[in-house]
């Protein structure tokens, strides 16, 4: 672990603390709810940033992995097994601690899968899907890759919509809190707002530390080489297919983790989380943050998600993201932050950075 990277992450946490204190001092604690959601969405975007910004591979299906995570958690944690307690499987699962019992509003016993095993299953399922989809899809390039991921995203979207068990168009609500640590649980109650904000901050900080370390390692250099010139990277002995699929799977795991936690935080999930428009928004955020800049992506994601969730764009929400996509790609294809630094201040970025897009 490089000390510089650790310092950056500590600085991020410090800024997060300042925000929380300001929110409390200004009597605007409710803003932390949307900020927490933005932090989780940022986790999804960071995974995509690794794939798009570093490895240069577009994906129009990132929201699908978030939905796989969120829906798996929601379905398992609301699946009442109390009536099947006599079954051997259910009894065995209960003995091993895979299940959790609680009472509902009417005092009836509800027996569901515990959030921890459901989290593990959700992330594993998302990663498995990423492997199955990623191996053939990531062999494609350019237009083909974009259309293939769009197709996969559309299929994933149609699954919850067409499945009654997953609530069809209504989605799943009534997802119970996630007891993360003794005294801390991921839920949407106003009392635990600040605690939940910090949970999201810490999860994001840990993910950031991991990703920063990755992009400054051999793997990161390999990904940038793939972005620069895939054929040359192959010729240099880089197993491009394997690196691309691994990046894809890592992004899927992060998205699923975010999906699980945000679903417990919101207490519900709906099919719009899996929609192609959602995936396109993630692409827009990566584009704004800069191809190959994790901190830029993090900043862009927090700002744009927060504004979007607070409803600042109103009914024009989708249009705003469409306009952002076009504007960034036309005028600043390497991201707003990067262009500003180099053009306005005349400072050339030093050290390793992602090369320009390949033709």
């Amino acid at each position: 672990m490089r000390p510089a990277l650790l310092r950056q992450v500590v600085l991020f946490l410090a800024v997060a603390v300042v925000f929380q204190l300001l929110a409390v001092a200004g009597g605007q604690v409710f803003l932390l709810t949307q900020l927490t959601m933005s932090l989780y969405y940022t986790l999804v975007v960071l995974g995509l940033s690794l794939l798009m910004g570093y490895a240069g591979q577009i994906s129009l299906g990132q929201a699908g992995f978030f939905a796989v995570g969120g829906y798996t958690a929601a379905a398992l944690c609301t699946w009442d097994l109390a009536a099947r307690r006599s079954s051997e499987w259910v009894a065995a699962a209960e003995r091993t601690g895979l299940l959790t019992a609680r009472t509902d509003a009417f005092g009836a016993l509800v027996l569901t899968v515990h959030p921890w095993p459901s989290l593990a299953l959700a992330v594993l399922l998302s990663m498995a899907l990423a492997v199955v989809v990623g191996i053939p899809v990531l062999k494609l390039k350019g237009n083909y890759l974009a259309m293939a991921t769009l197709g996969v995203g559309t299929i994933v979207y149609s699954i919850p919509l067409g499945t009654a068990r997953l609530g069809a168009a209504d989605g799943i609500s009534g997802v119970p809190p996630f007891p993360l640590l003794p005294g801390i649980s991921v839920d949407g109650s106003p009392r635990s707002r600040i605690a939940n904000y910090y949970v999201a901050c810490v999860v994001l900080a840990v993910a950031m530390l991991l990703l920063l370390n990755l992009v400054h390692s051999r793997v990161g250099r390999a990904l940038r080489a793939i972005h620069g010139a895939e054929d040359a990277a192959t010729a240099m002995g880089i197993d491009t297919a394997r690196f691309k699929v691994r990046t894809f799977v890592l992004g899927a795991a992060l998205a699923a983790l975010a999906g699980v936690l945000l679903t417990h935080f919101n207490g519900a999930i709906g099919p719009s989380e899996a929609s192609v428009m959602k995936s396109v928004k993630y692409v827009a955020i990566v584009a704004v943050g800069g191809m190959g800049s994790l901190w830029g992506t993090l900043a862009a994601s927090l700002v744009l998600n927060f504004l979007s969730l607070r409803g600042y764009f109103g009914t024009l929400d989708d249009a705003v993201f469409g306009a952002i996509l076009i504007a960034v790609m036309l005028f600043a294809p390497e991201g707003i932050l990067r262009i500003d630094l180099r053009r306005t201040l005349g400072l050339a970025a030093r050290g390793p950075r992602a090369p320009a897009e390949p033709r």
Partner: protein
């Protein structure tokens, strides 16, 4: 399945198939001159239908349709002029993202202008209950209109590219851009023209299917995926391949409804797309390297 049902499904498949073929050809025209896959292709079909419905409040049907085609052609040309014309050497990733952005803007503009409701044009001849009997199957006159108009469009564009000076210039631009520029062809204007042509074809297709399938602001994405499937299936850049592929996809999709729940109708074409991409990206009718002329 008896013969009447078979013919019924077949005709429905061919009707949809010709639309997919036209959208696929639209992809090809732009791809040929620019190397860009225009993700906003489906939105042209939607715009054509929507504008025609609006114009039909004031104008007779033929004039409304002609107006809708012209308006959509202007939109296509404007998109090219505003967003693409001045880029020197845009990368593939950049153009994918830009055209996705354009498709979102058109969709949202349509949502603001026309709202969520489905819009519909009257049947060109006859009405919803008039039908022509064929081997026990009942065929809507509008289906015949759709097939005939799309077939005429395919023939006319083929003739245009084959025998007119302008069409040949566009093919020259597709085959060798630098060479065409050296010969003094106005490359940039030809690209603008290709956008207008592609938009106009989509719009006309949007008008003829509007009475059967209705038009809604969000219909473009699904059509774009299908049009792209068709373009790939036929070999990217190969117009006649797109026609054959469009008919195949339309018929397969139509018969899939008899075996699978209707909710999975779109999934069938996406599965075909993915299968083709994984196995044979040059298409069923394309050579190893898809021909671009």
């Amino acid at each position: 399945m008896n013969l009447a049902f078979f013919i019924q499904y077949l005709v429905a498949g061919i009707t949809y198939g010709t639309i997919y073929a036209v959208v696929g050809m639209g992809f090809n025209i732009i791809y040929n001159t620019t190397g860009i896959i225009n993700f906003a292709q489906g939105e042209f079909v939607m715009l054509g239908g929507m504008v025609a419905v609006s114009l039909h409040h004031h104008l007779p049907l033929p004039a409304a349709i002609a107006g809708a085609v012209l308006v959509t052609m202007a939109v296509g040309a404007l998109i090219e002029l505003i967003f693409i014309h001045w880029l020197s050497r845009p990368t593939v990733l950049r153009m994918i993202i830009v055209t996705i952005g354009i498709s979102i803007l058109i969709r949202e503009a349509a949502l603001l202008t026309w709202g969520h409701d489905v819009r519909v044009l009257p049947y060109f001849t006859g009405n919803e209950i008039s039908a022509i009997s064929l081997g026990g199957a009942r065929i809507s006159p509008q289906a015949i209109w759709a097939v005939a108009v799309c077939a005429a469009m395919v023939l006319l564009t083929t003739a245009f590219f084959q025998w007119t000076m302008l069409g040949r210039q566009m093919r020259a631009c597709a085959s060798n851009r630098v060479g065409a520029a050296v010969c003094g062809l106005p490359i940039r204007n030809l690209v603008t023209l290709s956008f207008a042509l592609s938009a106009g074809m989509g719009a006309l297709a949007g008008c003829v299917v509007c009475p059967i399938t209705y038009t809604q602001y969000g219909m473009g994405t699904g059509l774009a995926i299908k049009g792209f499937t068709v373009a790939i299936l036929g070999g990217l850049g190969n117009s006649l391949g797109a026609v054959a592929a469009g008919l195949v996809l339309g018929v397969v999709e139509s018969f899939s409804v008899s075996a699978l729940p209707a909710a999975y109708k779109d999934t069938v074409s996406i599965a075909i797309l993915l299968g083709i991409l994984f196995v044979r990206p040059s298409g069923l009718f394309g050579g190893r390297a898809a021909t671009r002329v």
